[in-house]
């Protein structure tokens, strides 16, 4: 298992665990980012943060701070 933010652009992975406190991750789950969801890291923003991922056939952007706490395999 490694953090989502350690993927390289174009790399695909599956969410294993989300280490964001339960009371803060509600919206993330509702957007379909759940354990077991497969995703692709599309790119990092030009200034290095945030990251863009593709999941369930749409594009979503998260800060690295959160991407560090999403573990994938």
């Amino acid at each position: 298992m490694r953090p989502l933010s350690s993927l390289t652009p174009g790399e695909r992975a599956v969410v294993a665990r989300i280490d964001i406190p339960p009371d803060q991750r509600g919206r993330l789950l509702e957007m379909g980012l759940l354990p077991g969801t497969s995703l692709e890291l599309v790119r990092f923003a030009p200034l290095g943060d945030p990251v863009e991922i593709k999941l369930r056939n749409y594009h979503l952007s998260l800060r690295k701070l959160e991407a560090d706490k999403i573990l994938v395999r």
């Binding site: 919206r27 943060d49 945030p50 369930r56 749409y58 594009h59």
Partner: protein
């Protein structure tokens, strides 16, 4: 005759607004929901039968029924029938993006579960097809238990079918019975608790028993569903707060679930997505392997390390330049027209106080509102285009890193940039920021960016005080702009650390596919938003302008009138025909002197003198004090007031002659008044001081309270005084 109410709902970026415009033909009424700055869009269905009118209400885009922003809260409250101003919907039309089926169905199935008569519009089937997904709408309809209408709203495909359905339903209201349906295979323990809670809700709120099952599910799994806050309508009669017994019951149920090892926050979400995944597999046929989409190709350039940033700078530059320079022409035109109108009215009415009130109070007041229109329209045009094409979220994506340094969101960038032209459109543009704390922080600091109204103040002070050589004038101007930026970012950082602290909100930003903007809709939206400004802020601005006119005009002194009419009679008596240049000049001088003397005698003049002790430590005298008092309406008034105070003539056009007079102005001890130090101190004061009633009015409107605009005025004025004090005192110590 009862109107058939259709509520249109769906995720952001699902094409809902395009559909709404197509259904109502761009003749919607736009306003706000009571007490919040959430846009309310409502229109009559075009082509509806005269006897069976249909009203369509467009709800704000929503990702789920557990709201994260005021927009989403309004949408939830309407769907839960908690908003007294909105009747129970006769039909809910959920719009879903076919190319993003699972996440769109997440919300759609939540809505279907509410038990309203519901219809699903499957929009953008062309995009889905292009990506190789063929969706069987029959099968989807069967799986969801509601009719499904396939559509390409931007091309008008499927519109007739929808319109026909709406017409039929409007003719026969109440004939559609909905079989409640759930899309969760919940863990058994969770299902049991939900069932018990449903029964309790039914007995507590019999008038909305239809919603009980869905509400039970939300209460159990949404942390914040129990909390009632001021912005929601839950406290009102129609909603009713949850009774304590119910709150206790929910908390006990959550406790039991935790003991049983069920995560009550995520169980329902996971169960729903599992079901949706299965539905999608069942109804979709893959026709082609997904290739790279056009939108993805565009994004490779737009978010590129080099090209993306260059493009961003170019877009922002174009936008800023248009607000700054392009708006100048219509603004000059409006100013000339207002002046001409005032002149005409002034000369066709008998002179006197009423004449003065109408020309210099009312007409000038209206002018000071309308003058903002070109900038506001242009900014909203740009924002509309950026939003409609999908570039807005890329701009936030690009800028988030910079803005997050001071604790703000990427979306704060555009409001801050716009504030260079004018804080009013900038503050109105903060509506795109969902998080309340971020939005407030942006509103609080936006007026610190040097707006175009400060430019005349800087210009005249630089001309009067700064050595006109070695590039000093330009450098000084640049320093003032930089000071404003530093002040805004610094204060944003401080506010986010103190007053507006709280959970650092996560950035969860969707990057929707690019699309061609619909110009008609963008223009329409621009006009609607501008009208809101005129209606809501305009009245306050007009009122305060009239008040300031009163302060600058009264009390009248008959002694003074007498004195000047005598002098004027003398001048008339001695003047030769035709008058020589010197005599004309003397006559004008007399007018200027009279205006100056009257202003000095007025309440505003007295106020200027009264605040002199406060201004003395900054090196200002009472004449500057009058300028500061009158320019509370708008900063540029400072220039015209000084012109009157120094007897130069009040039109303020003549910066050069005003600067000359200011240069020769002496203090009581004979030193020059307008030294470089005085100039810089005064400019520092104007960088930070609020000095703009229009901004106050707009902030009051946008925050829906007097608390924030008052706080903002106090903090900015204090900051202005302290920094001007430090500048002046340090400067004097250093011997300037």
């Amino acid at each position: 005759m009862k109107t058939f109410t259709v509520v249109l709902t769906g995720n952001p970026n699902c094409g809902k607004t395009t559909l709404f415009n197509a259904l109502t033909g761009l003749r919607a009424r736009v306003g706000n929901y009571a007490g919040v700055t959430v846009e309310r869009k409502e229109g009559a269905l075009t082509g509806a039968e005269a006897l069976h009118p249909v009203t369509v209400l467009d709800l704000p885009g929503t990702y789920s029924l557990s709201p994260q922003s005021p927009d989403e809260q309004i949408a939830r409250d309407i769907l839960f029938q908690r908003l007294p101003e909105v009747p129970a919907p006769d039909l809910v039309v959920v719009v879903a993006d076919a190319s993003n089926l699972q996440r769109n169905l997440y919300f759609a199935t939540q809505v279907i579960e509410l038990g309203h008569p519901t219809l699903l519009v499957l929009n953008m089937i062309d995009v889905a097809r292009e990506q190789g997904h063929e969706i069987d709408t029959e099968a989807l309809s069967k799986a969801l238990g509601v009719p499904v209408i396939p559509m390409v709203a931007s091309e008008g495909e499927g519109l007739d079918a929808l319109r026909q359905t709406l017409r039929t339903l409007a003719r026969t209201p109440g004939t559609r019975h909905v079989i409640p349906r759930e899309f969760n295979e919940l863990p058994e323990a969770f299902g049991r608790e939900a069932q018990a809670l449903e029964t309790a809700l039914e007995s507590h709120f019999p008038h909305r028993s239809r919603l009980a099952a869905a509400e039970a599910l939300l209460l159990l799994s949404d942390e914040r569903a129990l909390a009632t806050d001021k912005t929601s309508a839950e406290g009102t009669a129609a909603g009713g707060r949850y009774p304590q017994s119910l709150i206790d019951q929910v908390q006990a149920a959550r406790q039991r679930l935790e003991t049983a090892g069920v995560d009550w926050r995520s169980a329902a979400i996971e169960a729903r997505y599992a079901r949706l995944f299965a539905i999608e597999q069942h109804v979709t046929r893959e026709t082609a392997p997904p290739g790279e989409l056009l939108s993805d190709r565009i994004d490779r350039v737009v978010t590129h390390r080099v090209w993306g940033l260059l493009l961003f700078v170019a877009v922002m530059g174009l936008m800023f330049q248009s607000i700054f320079w392009l708006a100048k022409y219509p603004m000059d035109g409006i100013e000339a027209a207002v002046d001409a109108l005032a002149q005409w009215v002034g000369s066709s009415m008998p002179p006197g106080d009423l004449n003065d009130l109408i020309t210099r109070g009312a007409i000038a007041g209206v002018g000071s509102v309308v003058i903002f229109l070109p900038q506001i329209c242009l900014l909203f045009l740009f924002i509309g285009l950026l939003e409609d094409t999908g570039y807005m979220s890329r701009a936030a994506f690009l800028m988030d890193r910079l803005m997050s340094r001071v604790g703000l969101h990427g979306k704060s960038f555009i409001p801050m940039l716009s504030s260079f032209a004018c804080a009013i459109p900038g503050i109105m543009a903060t509506r795109t920021i969902e998080t309340r704390a971020d939005r407030l922080a942006t509103i609080l600091v936006a007026p610190l960016m040097s707006c175009s109204a400060r430019l005349p103040v800087y210009t005249v002070l630089i001309a009067a005080c700064i050595p006109q050589r070695n590039g000093w004038p330009g450098l000084t101007l640049l320093m003032m702009y930089l000071l404003g930026i530093a002040g805004a970012l610094g204060m944003a950082w401080i506010f986010k650390k103190t007053l507006l602290r709280g959970e650092p909100p996560m950035l969860i930003l969707e990057l929707p596919p690019y699309k061609r903007p619909m110009l008609g809709a963008v223009l329409r939206q621009m006009w609607d938003r501008s009208k809101l400004f005129l209606r809501r802020a305009g009245t306050v601005i007009l009122g305060i302008n009239i008040l300031l006119w009163f302060l600058a005009t009264y009390p009248r002194s008959s002694e003074l009138d007498e004195q000047f009419s005598q002098r004027r009679a003398q001048w008339k008596h001695s003047v030769s025909t035709p008058p020589t240049a010197a005599e004309t000049e003397a006559g004008l001088q007399l007018d200027h002197e009279e205006a100056g003397e009257k202003l000095r005698q007025s309440f505003a003049g007295r106020l200027g003198r009264a605040i002199e002790p406060v201004l003395k430590p900054l090196g200002f005298d009472w004449k500057i004090g009058i300028g500061i008092v009158t320019s509370f309406a708008a900063r540029e008034v400072f220039v015209s007031t000084l012109s009157v105070v120094y007897n130069v003539g009040g039109d303020g056009e003549n910066t050069a002659s005003l600067a000359e007079v200011m240069k020769s102005e002496r203090r009581s001890d004979g030193r020059a008044m307008y030294t470089p130090l005085t100039g810089v101190t005064l400019m520092v004061f104007y960088v930070f001081a609020m000095q703009c009633v229009s901004t106050v009015a707009v902030v009051r409107r946008e925050t829906n309270s007097w608390k924030w605009p008052l706080f903002q005025t106090v903090y900015m004025t204090s900051l202005a005084w302290i920094l001007a004090f430090l500048t002046y005192q340090t400067g004097t110590r250093l011997g300037f």
